[in-house]
Amino acid sequence: MRLNDLTYLMPLLVLVGASIVTMLSVAVKRNHRVVFGLTVLAHLVAMYFLLPLRGFTYPIPPFLIIDGWGVFTMGLILATSLFVTMVSYAYFEQREERKEEYYILLLLATLGACVLVISQHFMALFLGLEVLSVSLYALISYLRTREMSDEAGIKYLILAAMSSAFMLFGMALMYAVTGTMAFPEMAAFLNSGQEMPLLFLTGFGLIVVGVGFKLGVVPFHMWAPDVYEGAPAPVTAFIATVSKGGMMGLLIRFISETNGYRYPSLLLIFTIIAIASMLAGNLLALRQKNIKRLLAYSSIAHLGYLLIAFLAGNQLGVEAVSFYLVAYFITTLGAFGVVAFLSDNVRDADQLEDYRGLFWRRPATAAIFTAMLLSLAGIPLTAGFVGKFYILASGVNTQQWILVGMLVLNSIIGVYYYIKVIAVMFAQPEQKPELRKVLHPAISFASGATMAVLGLLLVWIGVFPSTLVQLIRGLLVTFMASL
């Protein structure tokens, strides 16, 4: 630990400081607006300190490493978390329960995800993961008066603790084999021998359980629909984006640092998981009447798509993962943002019936939701299309024909249920919709503006993807060299 390290740790320190300041301000006086402002400010300041860190590879031994991939995923996580915060204000303002702790937990969860993506040591990995998980336990069951929230929270708690235990045991086995918990030394150990030791493979298999749980891929996906349904809509957006993206960032770092692409057995595990996730996610979503559950199944399928690019393993693959993460984050945030926007103070707008004739009541909201769903389905002119195209290119590039075939097949299945929701939104309402209490315009303005920004970003990336591609290439140039 040197003084210079602090400059590189500034984004994390800002998050830590902000969560403490927020907690103290809550202790002095509860004010939703002040806490909200502090949280937004913290994200902006953290992003400001993140900017000058591009283009370096700066290890902070033994725990962390700041490099292009870390800066990219950290920036993505911070931006996503900022959008979640923006949507949260109107959502929680309608509810009588205490709102302020939400922001403290959100900041801490973001911190955990940031640590996760820049860790190069099992201990940092585990601590980051636990900070993220523990904050999520409370966030998921945050609205205690809801009947589903307890169930979702307990389910996530038990399964997350279980998967952490698996992961710890896997780390212990790998430590027993290699005698180190740092990724670079582990890579050096593996490079010295030709074969992967069996115990190491076992340990890796156990770690896959933990990783798979957080990513919500089949067969570790059971929690996803229930937790998505029970959690407040902004928290659901957070789980679907930051938590999964953080884990994906870690997975790519771990595999590329330890040079895991050499081992066919590892790739086979992920190939099976990818195919199973795509199929199960899309097929289970077909008959879904609940929007949040539908999006849960759709996110299972999307993580399957992401794994295809991950399996490609070359430069194009990492680029595809990065691009798809951005597209998927924007889309998911937008979709759950709309759900949060339409929710009233009793329950979330999660039934398909809530969206019947939405276009005739709220044309702008319906238009944004339509754009998001089309992007999820991968229709041209949206970010989702370019992302899927990128993944397809990386799959074809490495001749993974089975995976590519499954991707095409599943995209077709997926279109059915996305279009079904869109059709419902454009259907004529049967009865006159009851009037809802409208919030103060300034409050819903924050949500509305966020949704508009997301919608614009979605179309902009869909039409002019080269800007984002250049950005990703520029950031990842140091990371790519090591691949």
């Binding site: 630990m1 969560s19 329960e97 205490r98 601590l127 008066t145």
Partner: protein, 175 residues
């Protein structure tokens, strides 16, 4: 010294199995204490006497005692006093007692054994633990602090509410 490790590990596994199979909470907790003691002996045989002491002070000492206090304070009625009398029968405490006795014998053997190499590897003293915690691993210590903060803030929020929520499955059967 291999054997001492395996005996302690076996006791730990056995006690932990008993923890999850017992129906009575207090019985389970008794076995939990034994499990912690056994793990502490495992630490000791592996050359981490400081960790062994911490395991006993923090887990077997503070945490389990807290859990027992909470359980005992929840609802103290005449019935519970009867329960407590039942708990003090030998049938209940003989299992954990035997397991603890094994650990004690093992520990006495370790201390009185002729061979000086009690540990399987070089022992890690308290000073070395402190040096690494506040040297290279200082970020980990601070992250643990943030982990605790997340836990406390979450527990505070979730524990404050009084409203009872009926589970949706129960609701349906009652109606």
């Amino acid at each position: 010294m291999e054997l001492t490790f395996f005996i302690a590990a076996a006791v730990a596994v056995l006690a932990t199995i008993m923890v999850v199979t017992q129906y009575n909470l207090i019985h389970a907790l008794l076995y939990l204490v034994v499990s912690f003691l056994a793990i502490s002996v495992v630490f000791f045989t592996l050359g981490a006497p400081f960790m062994a002491a911490l395991e006993i002070i923090i887990y077997a000492g503070a945490i389990v005692v807290l859990i027992i206090f909470v359980i005992m304070m929840l609802n103290l009625t005449q019935e519970d006093i009867q329960h407590e009398k039942e708990w003090l029968k030998p049938r209940i405490w003989i299992g954990p007692a035997v397991l603890s006795m094994i650990l004690l014998v093992e520990l006495v053997y370790i201390f009185t054994a002729d061979t000086p190499d009690t540990y399987r590897s070089t022992p890690v003293e308290a000073q070395a633990v402190g040096m690494s915690l506040f040297g290279p691993y200082v970020l980990g210590v601070q992250l643990s602090g943030m982990l605790l903060m997340a836990g406390i803030v979450g527990a505070y929020h979730l524990g404050r509410q009084k409203k009872k929520v009926i589970h949706r499955f129960l609701e349906r059967t009652e109606a």
